[in-house]
């Protein structure tokens, strides 16, 4: 064997490393991508003389895995409701007692005694929203308030539908479409769910994130999508509407928590208190276009958000919304098996 590997070849390996030492006056936020208003960060930096760094993740599982591995250097994480109990159970969160902070009085009472964090001892609300269906009405003029858009796509949308690869959301929608409840372990029903998903998959275009851009540009005509993202799409492309599946749709909330191994606990607490101020909470919503859980923030919100059908759930669809619980391991295993088969 006389292979000669040129030195140029050796230079191919791509390495990326990240990490910074904790120093005074710093705050490292680990949050979903395209989700944090730069103006909010700037305001916080100016108010408290703290240097803030925001790092992105794309899914709850990514965040959990990275935080659990340790050595991440983050102070704040923003998990969804169904992941908060996992973070707590794994001993990853600091009991920061936001309920004793001065701005806690602003938290909307309906978001205080929540199932994932009763009495809010660990987390404060960041944003909440719904997972529904975004449809470009140029491609399809029929009823959009149904999961049939992706479970049984109408002819006009065959090959043009996207499904965001968020297992919990998609399976919840599919289960409710088949008449079950999220986290069900009813095998007869799950079998129906699997078969329906497998039959629908050839009619999908993709299973991808990034719908804010792809639906705005018209590359994707319909998608399982989040309400705020769809609101942003509509601003770019007015023919896109948001549908609330009448068969049932998930409601979610992402909450701000401080990590147990945070290096800048005091700054993190300052930040928690800071975002419970209505004016600041409104800044969060003004960027990512989701509602927040702070009373009085509406007054500071952009005018178009106060009436947007994506943000203000129309009365007729309110009852169909369900909060996604944390599924037990047995259900999780069944869902993963279905999900793997679906994505093979």
């Amino acid at each position: 064997m006389t292979w000669k590997f040129t030195s140029a070849v050796a230079g191919v390996a791509l390495l990326a490393s990240a990490g910074g030492a904790a120093a005074e006056g710093e705050l490292n936020i680990y949050n979903w991508g395209n989700y944090t208003n730069p103006d909010l960060i700037k305001k916080f930096e100016e108010a408290h003389g703290v240097k803030v760094t925001v790092t992105d993740y794309d899914s709850n599982s990514t965040a959990l895995t990275k935080v659990k591995a340790g050595g991440h250097g983050f102070d704040i994480v923003v998990p969804s409701a169904n992941y908060v109990p996992i973070f707590v159970k794994e001993g990853l969160l600091l009991e920061a007692r936001p309920d004793e902070m001065s701005n806690f009085k602003n938290v909307d009472p309906k978001w205080v005694d929540v199932s994932w964090d009763p009495g809010r001892r660990y987390t404060v609300p960041w944003q909440w929203g719904t997972t529904g269906i975004a449809v470009n009405t140029e491609a399809y003029k029929g009823d959009v308030n149904t999961s049939a858009i992706f479970m049984d796509p109408p002819e006009e949308l065959v090959g043009k539908v996207n499904v965001v690869p968020e297992m919990a959301d998609v399976l919840a929608l599919a289960i409710m479409y088949e008449g079950g409840k999220p986290c069900t372990e009813d095998k007869a029903l799950l079998k129906k769910v699997r078969d329906a998903l497998m039959a629908a998959k050839p009619k999908w275009m993709s299973m991808d994130y990034g719908m804010t851009d792809k639906m705005s540009s018209g590359d994707v005509m319909a998608s399982v999508n989040w309400n705020g993202s769809t609101f942003r799409v509509r601003a770019n492309n007015p023919s896109v509407v948001y549908g609330y599946p009448k068969e049932g749709y998930p409601i979610w909330m992402d909450s701000v928590a401080i990590l147990k191994d945070a290096g800048n606990v005091e700054n993190a607490k300052l930040f928690m208190n800071f975002i419970m101020e209505p004016e600041n909470a409104a800044l969060i919503s003004a960027f990512a276009r989701y509602a927040n859980g702070i009373s009085g923030s509406e007054a500071f919100m952009p005018e178009e958000m106060k009436t947007a059908p994506e943000i203000v759930v129309p009365a007729e669809f309110k009852a169909a919304g369900t909060f996604l619980p944390t599924c037990p391991k047995a259900a999780q295993d069944l869902y993963t098996a279905i999900w793997t088969e679906l994505r093979k």
């Binding site: 191919v12 990514t62 159970k89 279905i338 093979k344």
Partner: protein
Amino acid sequence: MARPTSALSAGELTARQTIVRRYWLLCLPALVLLVVAASGPLLIVLAYSFLEPADYSGVIWNLSGEGWFKVILNKDIFDDTVSLADAHMTIFWRSARLSILTTLLTLIVGFPTAYFIATRPKTHRQYWLFLITIPFWTNLLIRTYAIMEVIRNEGILNSSLMALGVIGEPLQILYTDTAVLIGMVYVYLPLMVLPLYAAMERLDFRLVEAGYDLYATRFQVLRRVIIPLVKPGIIAGSILVFIPSLGAYVTPRVLGGGKNMMIGNLIELQFGEGRNWPLGAALSIGLLVAVMAALVFYVRNEQAER
């Protein structure tokens, strides 16, 4: 000046021992790096593949063959019948097929390119090589997104084809296996060109001339003279392209639309949302073994021919 060892004095013996000791001492950093930094993580992956998954990612230190069982076999979640893991086989097969196609296509495109560079005047060659390495200046992810910009429905390719009247409506290339193939060929092409060039640079072109003198046709010269002589380059390039293709993650994720996974994405799913680290670890080791088997096969074949 060969002397029998017994004739060495005691002093010379200790001197030799010191040299040997120093030799090992100097090797130590490299050995530590190899054993701890290269094999260590692999051993952890191997160990994890035999453990039980914890409820929320991570592992429990209980011995279990469940991970390996699931790689090959599938217990139906609804009626508990055991069958071949159809989903995993489909994914493995897709990865192997796309990797082989990528290797063949990069070879077809890379061979003339390398030949072209090797036949330029010596002073010019470095500039051509320089051009080949330019893509490495940009991050892989950004290059992949650039490909996406070209082939998407409203992208450059479709809009120019439509403007020219070649097609009536956009071709759906993005989010198909074809898109993944285009992306991988583009990304891995330099890895084929560089070793091919290294082999061709050392090719004695007088042999090519001799071939023509002996009335060989162009095709015969290529097949009987050039290809056998640059074969080590072809093999090196093929291995360099095939192995990373098999484990490709970014390209299938961005261009494949996530609907059709490759092994890399399947492994990521197990460590992420699937929360089944032992299965992910077993899949990783399985991939490693498959790659090693392919390598051994190559090397054996190569030696048998000599």
